[in-house]
Symmetry: C2
Subunit: 352 residues, 2 copies
């Protein structure tokens, strides 16, 4: 079966491009003696998680317990949950996971550590714990080296929890700064820091220049998207995920309507100044998807000399691959347009 036979809108993945992306970053990591622990948020597929591990990854990264559970049930062996686990119900689920997989968790506060301690008391194996620190992302993580050391000490006070090291997102110049200040403090306290985990596709190939991390967590590199092109982290040829759409209306000379709206492409935009609209049309590069309704994509053709006709199939490279796979129950895998698998996105919607 060929891609042309699929009903649109539909997300499709070029298998050869995805494999090339997996291989290239693995080689980089091997060359620089970095451990690779891919984040599955981009593909949400046990299939590709296994391919990444076969290529050399030491395990995977997930954000939520629901994702970890599916991956544990589909044969993955080593899972890092980079999220504060809060509350008894989640602590119990974390403890249950230790029956099946090696599991580690990130933490940045005492409240989450309380849940980890509770989980450790019910776990079948030690739970690895990394202290998350902030290094420029302004998201979360402890803010100072002292807080990091104190939280590590609190972790060491729990039997059943194993302090593994430090974790941040993304890897930046500030990561190096934080490590330079904090690693001596850890040494002074006699605490070993076997793992320093950093992440982010945009800076992935610069990790060795940026900071002394030991582990790279990246998600988007497997598919890439328009954001990665805008960040100079990928080219159009590196984009494995495409959404196939159909022009359902051409109400005016300068407007086409495609059957992919925010329920298909998401409303994610590029950072200001990096590009307009809700996706890239490789066959009509001067066209702009300048508005989305839930099921309508409004394509501005003013600057496009060629214009697609009603009924025509139009390819879209999405702005942000990760949120697109989260909208779809399945993706189709192809080689040169021939479909080789229909993959249910088993981790879709696992936000709990």
């Amino acid at each position: 079966m060929h891609l042309d036979e699929l009903s649109s809108p539909v997300p499709v993945v070029d298998y050869d491009i995805a494999r090339r992306n997996i291989g290239r970053l693995q080689q980089y990591c091997d060359r620089h003696q970095l451990k690779l622990r891919p984040h599955i948020k981009t593909h949400k597929l046990p299939f590709f998680a296994h391919e990444q591990c076969k290529a050399g990854a030491i395990g995977i990264t997930v954000q939520k317990l629901g994702e970890a559970e599916v991956m544990a049930q589909t044969g993955l062996a080593d899972i890092l949950v980079t999220y504060n686990i809060v509350g008894r119900e989640k602590a119990e689920r974390l403890a249950n996971l230790t029956n099946f997989v090696r599991v580690s968790v990130a933490v940045d506060n005492e409240k989450a550590l309380e849940a980890l301690g509770w989980a450790a008391g019910r776990a079948s194996a030690p739970i690895g714990v990394l202290v998350e620190f902030e290094s420029g992302g302004n998201r979360q993580g402890v803010q100072t080296p002292e807080q990091a050391v104190n939280l590590a000490k609190a972790i060491l006070g729990h039997s059943g929890l194993e302090f593994k090291g430090l974790m941040t997102y993304p890897t930046t110049a500030k990561t190096a700064e934080f490590l330079q200040q904090s690693l001596p403090l850890f040494r002074k306290s006699g605490i070993e820091v076997p793992v320093v985990s950093g992440g982010g596709t945009p800076s992935a190939y610069h990790t060795h220049e940026l900071a002394p991390v030991t582990e790279v967590r990246v998600g988007t590199y497997i598919y890439n998207d328009r954001m990665m092109i805008a960040a100079s982290a990928a080219t159009l040829e590196d984009c494995a995920l495409t959404v196939l759409t159909t022009v359902v209306s051409r109400p005016t000379i300068d407007r086409a309507v495609i059957d992919a709206g925010s329920k298909t492409l998401s409303s994610d935009l590029l950072p200001p100044g990096q590009g307009n609209g809700y996706g890239l049309l490789p066959d009509y590069p001067d066209a702009i998807i300048d508005r989305l309704n839930e099921e309508h994509g409004l394509v501005n053709l003013e600057r496009s000399v060629r214009k697609p006709e009603a009924g025509e199939r139009v390819r879209v490279i999405p702005n942000h691959a990760c949120v697109v796979t989260n909208l779809h129950d399945q993706i189709y895998l192809h080689r040169n347009g021939d479909i080789i698998a229909q993959l249910p996105v088993y981790l879709r919607g696992k936000t709990v």
Copy 2:
């Protein structure tokens, strides 16, 4: 079971508020002799579609065939698909639907009409067709009254297709203008226009003043959301859908991280000038969800005197209810916090 026992993030719906919203608009429509045909895009649930019909709606509106199929399989009887059906595969699915339900479709171009004609040849019952016209939404629809008449004539040329009338979105002052120009043209051509279908929650209660439509298609009114509050179409007390979240980190004095990111709340923003951020926190009205990652909601607490603690449950009224229900496999229905049903969102992701 009480809402407090649910693991977060989780969308919950207040049954009494939803029913009040259903009843109030039905009363308005009855008073003004308007037919109500709710759009199911907001709830995506056969359950509420049936409640809307029991309250007096003449049938439902869907956007995609996949939605129509689920509704047909769950007992709904009269379905309008307000979308151009393009291609043989979809035409066949449309024809199949006529075995089970009364089905009508909107169309604005010859290419889509081609598919409808093909479907009509295979259908078990006539397919109703409405001509979509544009009246200020700048989305799609024929642009002129002449185009509307010509497309109606083409529809009348197909046995098996039944010309039902006109359709637009949203209902605006321009709707009246278009009708004033086009209805005489239809009369002159001897073509009856039994249905004029308009829509949109923001203007729903002004329909009778705006334009001589016969039918009201609205979706959001059942749940409402922050957009509807911003558009003065609802108050906080009319918002039935809430997302329950948990504070998983308080990295700084002025920042909280909730466990709901763009995979839970979507990246939909309010129109410019109508409000900042990705949702309303009714318990912390001065807090702003000013950034979302996929699983992290970053809450700016600078202007909030009270500040939620790590581990605390925080309610969010989403910006846009329709895209939120599309992200979740199920919603919980409650009365005063007591859970009365767990409803799978059967129409979630039915974009094809």
